[in-house]
Symmetry: C2
Subunit: 479 residues, 2 copies
Amino acid sequence: MADKKMVESITSMDTDFAQWYTDVVRKAELADYSGVKGCMIIRPYGYAIWENIQKDLDRRFKELGHENVYMPLLIPESLLQKEKDHVEGFAPECAWVTVGGENELSERLCIRPTSETLFCEHFRNVIHSYRDLPKLYNQWVNVVRWEKTTRPFLRTSEFLWQEGHTMHATEEEARKETLTMLKVYEDFFLETLAIPAVVGRKTEKEKFAGAMETYTIEPMMHNGVALQGGTSHYFGDGFARAYDITFTDRDNKVKYPHQTSWGVSTRMIGAIIMAHGDDNGLILPPKVAPIQVVLIPVQMQKPGVLEKTAEVADKLRRAGIRVKLDDSDNSPGWKFSEYEMKGVPVRLELGPRDIENNSCVLVSRVSRAKTFASLDNVVSEVETMLASVQEELVHRVRENVASKTSTAANYDEFLDCAANRPGFIKAMWCGDSACEDKLKDVTGGVKSRCIPFNEEKISDVCVCCGRPAKHMVIWGRQY
Amino acid sequence: MADKKMVESITSMDTDFAQWYTDVVRKAELADYSGVKGCMIIRPYGYAIWENIQKDLDRRFKELGHENVYMPLLIPESLLQKEKDHVEGFAPECAWVTVGGENELSERLCIRPTSETLFCEHFRNVIHSYRDLPKLYNQWVNVVRWEKTTRPFLRTSEFLWQEGHTMHATEEEARKETLTMLKVYEDFFLETLAIPAVVGRKTEKEKFAGAMETYTIEPMMHNGVALQGGTSHYFGDGFARAYDITFTDRDNKVKYPHQTSWGVSTRMIGAIIMAHGDDNGLILPPKVAPIQVVLIPVQMQKPGVLEKTAEVADKLRRAGIRVKLDDSDNSPGWKFSEYEMKGVPVRLELGPRDIENNSCVLVSRVSRAKTFASLDNVVSEVETMLASVQEELVHRVRENVASKTSTAANYDEFLDCAANRPGFIKAMWCGDSACEDKLKDVTGGVKSRCIPFNEEKISDVCVCCGRPAKHMVIWGRQY
């Protein structure tokens, strides 16, 4: 880090998108590799983004009445096995503890890949009457899923997430919760991450292990590849039956409660990188940016420059804006590149001539356009530019999705899109998972992303088998 | 939970302190047992206390320039083994992952009992020059130490904590950091948890595995038993040498940096329970209480009572006070007991007669004294009572420590204190750990807590061996 005189350039997105991603993660100092295969170190700048994400989401959850709890890290194998579909889905990805202290354990313990089973064990103890419902719980924790191929933030053997787990007296209420939390994610992606995304229902084949319905938010990355951004599941009373959770209802009958779970993870940092970034590095949506405005004094040896820059920084800070003043002895040009790499939304430059004019230069990280702002209105000018960065990011993602979404009316068109047009494909589907399997095979990886809430009718028949279509599906490659 | 008409009473502290503790944890709904031996479930009320603790400490850390990061959960055995003393200290407590996915691992992985080794691995990658120093890192994570006997919050196989890890260019700076962070803990215990505590240096025998110096904060519980509340370690350059971390200093010489680490955990919730609680249950210091004021409408079926109570609740909430209005159909008497059990610092009662008088009743959880307050000044009256609860708690702990601290000038006095006077013993010590071992053996568990910063000179010789004394030590039994 020290003594570097220039910011090394990174691979261009168009040359090698995967290498560009890795370069950004490293150069923006978001994450580092660790000695354990597939486990990453989240560095201060990356973790500060995660803290801003947590703060925003946690507030949204709590406003809806959810409470945070903490369940154990370890799940006894016998507990995991009580729900058949669930264990089948997760057993291949489990990391197993077999030795504790200096003794072989009598039963091996799985590091949680997700915590439905632990929540159910606890719900069994605390739910007895309709008066104990609903239970609206969430936890912010680490989970482990043993992955073969990993990439920082996108797919790691350990990741951080929140998992909401709720129990309700009726199916109707639980189904409503499932959709409410999906909407929270949709709003959060749009309002906070500046990522408008497709939302919808997963097909039978793509559902979460043990769920009756899985809903998903599917943002598209710059290169047209989808990232499953978050999921919300309705379980019915399947787990409740498997784990023997019952309650006495108002009518004095003993019933099984209805369950949901929902989660988003540090993957979202991968989504931010790939939805917004460019060849100059990261671009952070202002609401999660650890530094919203970087102040760079120009000709800072000249009298008054540093003092004035500090004064402006202080003014912005008092207005609740997250600022950094870089008065290191690196050149202004080096600093410009460095904070572009780190995706700081707004740069403020201040030199002797600006001070004479009682103004400063503001540069948007998205458009890179310079504007002059009076120092009298610097707070509102910066706030306006932060808002416009947010808007521009949303707009750019919308444009990207629009330009990379195709419609396929039949099998040949589907193959053509899959081969030649990166992005989403809208196409009709019969409802048979055999057709999903076939389309995935012939295209080398195009899968159903979801059945969107706003289905269109493209034709009457499945693009794959020609039988009557049940749904329009959005298809795409995924991370 | 449902339909209960009365709050069951709990075991009295004097009858059975351990059972009293367990009763409070359960009845105040702080934690629950899980299916994994020694791992607890932290319930919403307990977790909300932890969140308030985190918010306060995190602010203190960041004000001193610390940054949060996230290191992996798993440590390869070979990495753990690089520092000899460290691995000897922790290996007996490790939980080992030996199977990942469906394969036996080639090297087993330890679930972090603490993360010095992982931080060192990362520091090696990011520290090259004096310009990269200091590194002031912290993380909020779960750790696992395989314990034989466990009790919720006090000793659990998994617990939550923060662990700070810092690297400095000089010994002086690192030693200063070690003491600064101990002071942060001391201030936090006093100002936030309302627990004045003894601070000092651990003896050689009681030091952290691999540390050159360990400092500790040792609050005394109501029954006179000590709880190690938090520790701060100075490592010298031992780990840096073992993990080959070097930097080029201003003088162009390659040097090893100097290291610290420091941590506090969910144990602090155990300290809150046992330092402040009474036979009516928990007593929470206002600054970490999830509910600072509970509002209980009296004769709430009478017109205007509920509306007025809601209005007062709103007024308090807008002033930034954490309130709960309990308008459930349980009796006021039941509610009084319930929120006493939960340790809510202030209770506000409001009935028709109070409304007529434009007043309300305020009851302190500590003194249980009732006062009348005008509704016009309700915010300031409540704030005053919250402040006085905080003060009273501090005062009570001070009184308890004073009344349960004895001085022993010789061996017989030491044995007499250990046998007959619960609490701390001040006594001189020669500096030889053989004397610590002997005193522990003959007293059935009295150990050196620390060498306090404010040593007194009680005599010239060690209470155990009669050789010249080096230090005054505070001795006591511990959780």
